[in-house]
Assembly symmetry: C2
Homo-oligomer: 159 residues x 2
């Protein structure tokens, strides 16, 4: 007796339903894909996106306070404490408690930290170019602009 077998759904047949128009879902997927590319390229150097962002902001804003850094990168203070401790242990970042406000902590790159950032700068920020072009250059520019507006980072131009 023949049996009716339900067809097996393959990945590209999956009906994502309303997720098709869901911003949170699409942002998450996009981010995962970008990170995947990132690690495929740079994983071997032990560079991580979040860590390098932190160092970049300290590099660009010496004496920035830990809480300001955390808010700007949307990293929780509790987590920032741990991140900074690692950098301090590596000798890449120094912490100073300012006299004006002895609750705060001001951050600075050490000489080693500076060297690390500068030698890895291109490897890190030149990275986007290498990717498989999922969007045309015009589309990518458009998307970056929309994202900046979305996250309220429209002011000023890039480095």
């Amino acid at each position: 007796m023949d049996q009716i077998i339900a067809p097996v759904i393959t990945v590209d047949q999956v009906d994502v339903g309303p997720l098709h128009g869901n911003l949170g879902f699409l942002l998450r997927m996009a981010q995962l894909q970008v990170y995947e590319d990132f690690y495929a390229d740079l994983g071997e150097y032990g560079l991580k996106p979040g860590e390098f962002s932190v160092l970049t902001l300290i590099y660009k804003n010496p004496h920035i306070r830990q809480g300001v850094l955390a808010r700007r990168l949307m990293i929780k203070r509790a987590h920032m404490t741990k991140l900074i401790r690692v950098f301090e242990d590596r000798g890449h970042v120094s912490r100073t408690i300012p006299d004006e406000d002895r609750r705060a902590v001001e951050l600075e790159l050490t000489a080693d930290g500076l060297k690390f950032v500068e030698t890895n700068w291109d490897r890190f920020y030149g990275h986007e170019k290498a990717q498989t072009p999922r969007l045309t250059p015009a589309e990518e520019k458009q998307m970056l602009g929309l994202l900046r507006k979305f996250v309220d980072l429209e002011q000023g131009d890039a480095q």
Copy 2:
């Protein structure tokens, strides 16, 4: 003797440098903001974005296999195992091992799971509307289209 005090950097004065044009960074920031809104609205109901996505896909694709679901949502198989176990314990999802391939697991909503999805559908997918409009409707539509193209989900229409 007067002392020269270095000006304290505030959040909106932070120079983000090349992160200004960095896709990974902007995507991450955008995603964090969307999730923040989401939890502000729906946190009290105990709904989580990832969980509801899983249920939605099982709802829209009954008998989908666990691995297919994982790949589509870019969730690692190891993690999917844990997610599905929770749904099973809650009585929202049932697992079946098909005869055609006894390694696989096919997923289905239980009656309770179906009820849960349907009663929470609007609360979940009607959510985007309520947000502070960071983008105009036209810009939002544009962004969704670009994101879909970016993540290769262009085919088909929503819902």
